[in-house]
């Protein structure tokens, strides 16, 4: 009987020790939330060209952008008149309306009087609706 009691006690102690060790090895961890995703940014056109109208004073009165693909319909077209050293002489914008085979936009306001002789180029920007 004594031997049995001793054996049981020893077994119980060993079991308790192993249980404690096993509990210590288990780590409860948490995590904050994490969300991520990607999206493509597509362009409706890669090339635009423009013409300009000039008044008797030699100032630009309007810029005409034609041949805009219909895929750009509904987008906002910004045009900057560029001068020497890539300086911005004036900018204006318009909405590409719904159209047939191609679209066109006419911009008549540039925020400043721009002399046509100073214009060395146009810069375009199209942003989606």
């Amino acid at each position: 009987m004594k031997h049995l009691t001793k054996a049981l006690g020893l077994g119980l102690a060993a079991a308790a020790t192993f249980a404690a060790c096993a509990a210590a090895a288990t780590l409860t961890i948490g995590s904050t939330t994490l969300s991520a995703g990607n999206a493509s940014v597509t362009a409706c056109t890669s090339s635009l060209s423009a013409t300009r109208n000039v008044d008797n004073s030699g100032n630009v009165t309007q810029v005409n952008v034609a041949g805009i693909p219909t895929a750009c319909s509904g987008e906002t077209l910004s045009v900057t008149l560029v001068g020497s050293g890539n300086a911005a002489l004036g900018s204006g914008s318009g909405t590409v309306g719904s159209c047939g085979t191609t679209c066109s936009v006419t911009i008549t306001s540039f925020g400043a009087t721009v002399s046509a002789s100073n214009v060395t180029g146009y810069s375009f920007g199209l942003t989606g609706a």
Partner: protein
């Protein structure tokens, strides 16, 4: 005879004592020179949840002419459709990517209560170079 036995017993006791000391010393010496260390090891699992339960974050852009490019730059990136209920106050990273998924610029901010966030790239990023956008929210 009795004296001889006593002497023998004494010698045996002495021998046993010396042997015991020798063994103890040897073991103690080994034990003292063996430094065994162990790093702690713990392991567990946790689920990584997403705070974006409803809605789809969508990037829209404004542009402005920049003479240093020269051309149109991305003036601002507007992320709409953020889950304002679950993501409010969490850190957000928006990366504009270019050809070959290159990182043109990463802009960071915090998801506002409105769910719509406006970020301004700096330095300027050419609008023509942007081919994609990546968004990550964590916190």
């Amino acid at each position: 005879m009795s004296k001889a036995l006593k002497a023998l017993a004494k010698r045996r006791t002495l021998f046993a004592a010396v042997l015991a000391l020798t063994i103890f010393g040897a073991v103690y010496g080994f034990a003292a020179t063996l430094n065994v260390g162990a790093n702690t090891l713990s392991a567990g699992n946790a689920t990584v949840a997403s705070c974006q339960v409803t809605g789809t974050p969508t990037g829209t852009y404004t542009t402005a002419y920049d003479s240093t490019i020269p051309g149109y730059k991305v003036a601002s990136v507007i992320v709409t459709g953020l889950d304002d209920t679950n993501c409010n106050g969490k850190a957000i990273s928006v990366t504009l990517t270019g050809t070959g998924n290159s990182n043109l610029q990463t802009i960071t901010g915090t998801v506002p209560a409105s769910g719509n966030l406006t970020l301004t790239p700096s330095p300027a990023v050419s609008a023509a170079a942007v081919t994609g956008v990546s968004v990550a929210i964590n916190g």
